[in-house]
């Protein structure tokens, strides 16, 4: 078995992981830092983010206002100390990206341009046309190449965290090209593996978003926090689930039902005006806008299509020039995937799973309860997003908390002692045996990976989608139990070592089934409606019982153990979420 050792190991090469790596290399060049990623870093899902990154920039804006928007957007489930820290740090991080070459869009005088965004009371969203995530990721990746100290294991798939004496000591991973199983030791490990959208059938998320890091941490004993908080983006393309950015509405796009009516006015989101108004109508928060679209479907006021009901996102009144300069990717995606030109026709859209507010439980320092383990980005839950993330807060989050995780990991690595080599290697051999027996040498299985994956996705959508209730969640929980049983009998066609993507698909299915279970049980236990978590059987927010984070612990057998932690409230006591009035 191949072994190697570093001070710090980062799992995931997207925005959070790269930012952590650069922070470590800049803060202390003597630290030996490595990054392991199942894809080349510039393929990571950060690349697909479109609209922008929020950070207070203008004189008419204030840090407190960004805090309040985020707190109220989170339906008061966000931790206010973490939100204040985030809001303070994010403008500095966005500026750092500017210095590193990010091609931010500009005002005529050369200053950074900002645009409005959903749930935000001021213009504060920095953007690079509508390819902000792409530019941010490539800027970070290219900048990381400057630091020779950052070692990389590209296309290497982590299967397990090594834990000894209650502390995380490294990982076991498969080098895809050769199929070799490696033990990579580290004094500190940062999980930056992104979200788990592929648990759902209809998601904006890339194929790689399978919750690997969440499941790795969960299996190692770290709890997952607020997993019931699943964000649906209002505007996905009906067949593919490809995201049409919220910036389309921020630039003035309208949502119309089949009668051509701006229906959001019927959902307590304000009155229609020709130009966009902050925190109103199409600039409402994602949870409320997605729920309103479902409301239209239920009233029979959506269109019927081959992939379910949809409504229209109309950009025609913006004109070709604005669409081409501010929303070029929207046009490109519509032309390629829907065969329509948004300059001439409205876009067919429906709500689509987009983001996990929940993730690996961390404190404000990005530290998990497991010594030596840190997490940042969508994989983590600090929480700044609470029950509903505001659009353009996640790109800032990966920078702020990626850097913070980097600094925290440096401390841990300096104070950490090397693990016992023999104990760690024994765990590595155990894992190698598991992979060999359960997958690589396994014959006679009958269950196709794709079939189980699809059944999992369908039960998640049916039981645990935008609206949930006790019975639907219990049904999903039972179905997931059944699927976990069947997943022990996978049909494996590929028994070779070289780049075995059937093996990784099987392992990803296992990760997703564990993560899905935590989502369903966290949703079942929260008997209230808050933000993105809407229960048909408990339709009101209940601050007496549930002004609290759920934390799910994996148990040896049976469902996760759910506990609750208080939300940190500092300056903004819980109140009504008011939009458009």
């Amino acid at each position: 078995m191949e072994t190697s050792s570093h001070d710090i190991l980062i799992i995931g090469g997207g925005g959070a992981g790269l930012r952590a790596a650069i922070e470590i290399a800049e803060q202390d060049p003597t630290i030996d830092v490595a990054m392991v990623s199942k894809v080349y870093p510039m393929r990571s899902h950060t690349v697909s983010a479109e609209g922008g990154a929020a950070g207070v920039a203008g004189k008419d804006d204030s840090l407190d206002e960004h805090c309040y928007d985020t707190v109220s957007g989170s339906d008061w489930l966000g931790d206010q100390d973490a939100i204040e820290y985030f809001v303070n740090e994010v403008p500095k991080e966005l500026l750092r990206l500017e210095h590193w070459g990010c091609p931010w869009s500009r005002e005529p005088d050369g200053r950074i341009a900002v645009r409005p965004f959903g749930g935000m009371k001021r213009m504060r969203t920095w953007f690079a046309a509508d390819k902000t995530g792409f530019h941010l990721l490539h800027t970070l990746f290219q900048t990381s190449l400057k630091y020779r100290a950052i070692a990389r294991y590209d296309e290497t798939f982590v299967t397990r965290l090594l834990v000894e004496d209650g502390a995380v000591r490294g990982v076991v991973a498969i080098e895809l090209r050769t199929g070799k199983i490696r033990v990579i030791q580290a004094k500190a490990v940062i999980i930056a593996t992104g979200g788990c959208g592929r648990v759902f059938p209809f998601s904006t998320n890339a194929n790689i978003c399978t919750g690997d890091g969440m499941a790795l941490a969960y299996r190692a004993g770290a709890p997952l926090k607020d997993m019931e908080m699943v964000q649906y983006h209002p505007t996905g393309l009906p067949f593919t689930g490809i995201l049409i950015t919220e910036a389309a509405r921020a630039e003035g796009g309208w949502l119309l039902n089949k009668d051509g009516y701006r229906f959001l006015q019927d959902y307590d989101l304000g009155k229609p005006t020709p130009a966009p108004v902050f925190r109103s109508m199409e600039l409402g928060p994602r949870d409320r806008v997605s729920q309103a679209i479902i409301g239209e479907f239920e009233k029979g006021r959506g269109f019927h299509g081959p992939y379910g009901d949809y409504v229209h996102l109309d950009l025609r009144h913006l004109g070709e020039h604005k669409i081409e300069t501010r929303l070029p990717m929207v046009r490109e995606l519509c032309l390629k995937y829907e065969n329509l030109d948004p300059v001439k026709e409205p876009i067919r859209i429906r709500p689509v799973q987009h983001y996990m507010m929940g993730g690996v439980h961390t404190d404000i320092n990005a530290a998990t309860p497991l010594p030596g383990l840190f997490a940042a980005g969508e994989a983590a839950c600090v929480s700044i997003n609470g029950a509903n993330r505001l659009g353009s807060n996640s790109l800032g989050e990966i920078l702020v908390f990626g850097a913070r995780a980097g600094r925290a990991a440096i401390e841990a690595a300096r104070n950490g002692s090397p693990a016992s080599e023999t104990a760690v290697l024994a765990q590595g051999r155990d894992e190698e045996r598991r992979l060999e027996e359960n997958y690589l040498r396994k014959t006679g299985g009958t269950e196709r990976i794709a079939k189980l994956r699809e059944e999992m996705q369908q039960t998640m959508e049916r039981g645990c989608g935008i609206y949930r209730e006790h019975n639907s969640l219990v049904e999903s929980a039972h179905k997931l139990d059944e699927l976990r049983g069947r997943a022990a009998h996978l049909a494996i066609d590929d028994h070779t070592r070289t780049f075995n993507t059937q093996l990784t698909a099987a392992l990803e299915l296992g990760f997703m089934l564990d993560v899905a279970d935590s989502i369903v049980h966290s949703a079942l236990n929260r008997e209230e409606s808050r933000g993105a978590h809407q229960r048909r059987d408990f339709t009101k927010r209940d601050d007496q019982k549930y002004l609290a984070h759920s934390v799910a612990y994996k148990t040896a057998e049976g469902p996760p153990r759910i506990e609750y932690l208080p939300v940190v409230i500092t300056r903004w006591p819980p109140g009504e979420r008011v939009y458009g009035r």
Partner: protein, 246 residues
């Protein structure tokens, strides 16, 4: 029209040995399916050992470039129906070593990216307290070259890359040009030295196929020709002015 289509897919597994060959699969021909959907149908339903890379399925991550009927293409944005009635031949990108089936070895490409120093170089170490001012026109000067998604279709299209694997190649050179043209950068001399070396810009024979196949409308061929011009000017300057004075 038939409701299925034949995909002839390249197969190669170094553990099994032998020469690369093509295997035919019949997949549904649906009006909104991309070639990638056809490949996933094979992997999910017919043969789980078929191996290819893909991720975002929206033309931005750059993973799923392959040869479709001999043309370097992103499979996630190429409608299957455009190749009807078929058969459609799908192979690994030309000019790269094949790892398995449709997966090629990109390590050498990654090394080339790093070689051109694709980051903002500041000789003066200046860090403004706020943003560098950059007018929309200054942004426009380099913007198209910042849109490269590293899909490497241009390497598969470039005959020089085929003849000489050490050729720095279109995407890496375009990336060097992207930073050279950025008003915030001062690294142009370093990068000119790198791209002017043996197996750099002077190897390009201006075929222009790189720009034709680019799915993001980047024009690497233009980048290379502009760099040749800049390098020539610098070369003449080095004769006219004593070293270090310009």
């Amino acid at each position: 029209m038939s409701d299925t289509i034949i995909l002839e897919v390249a197969r190669f597994n170094p553990e099994r040995g032998g020469e690369p060959s093509y295997e035919s699969f019949e997949v549904p021909l649906r009006p909104d399916w991309m070639v990638l959907d056809g490949l996933n149908h094979i992997k999910d339903q017919l043969d789980g050992s078929l191996t290819f890379r893909w991720s975002c399925r929206m033309g931005i991550c750059g993973s799923c470039g392959m040869m479709i009927n001999g043309v370097p293409t992103l499979t996630c944005e190429s409608l299957l129906i455009n190749y009807a009635p078929g058969p459609v031949r799908v192979g690994p990108l030309d000019h790269f070593p094949v790892v398995k089936d449709l997966v090629v070895d990109l390590d050498d490409f990654l090394a080339k990216l790093q070689k051109v120093r694709p980051w903002v170089v500041r000789k003066d170490d200046f860090k403004p307290p706020r943003e560098f001012m950059q007018s929309p026109a200054q942004l426009e000067a380099f913007h198209q070259f910042s849109l490269c998604i590293n899909c490497t279709l241009c390497y598969a299209a470039c005959p020089v890359s085929g003849l000489d694997p050490n050729f720095l190649g279109p995407a890496a050179i375009a990336l060097a040009h992207r930073y050279n043209l950025d008003s915030r950068d001062q690294g142009v001399e370093d990068r000119l030295d790198i791209v002017s070396q043996h197996e750099g810009i002077w190897d390009c024979t201006v075929v222009g196929e790189c720009s034709v196949v680019c799915p993001k409308n980047v024009d690497p061929s233009l980048a290379i020709q502009q760099l040749k011009l800049t390098a020539t000017k610098e070369w003449f300057k080095s004769f006219l002015l004593p070293r270090g004075k310009h």
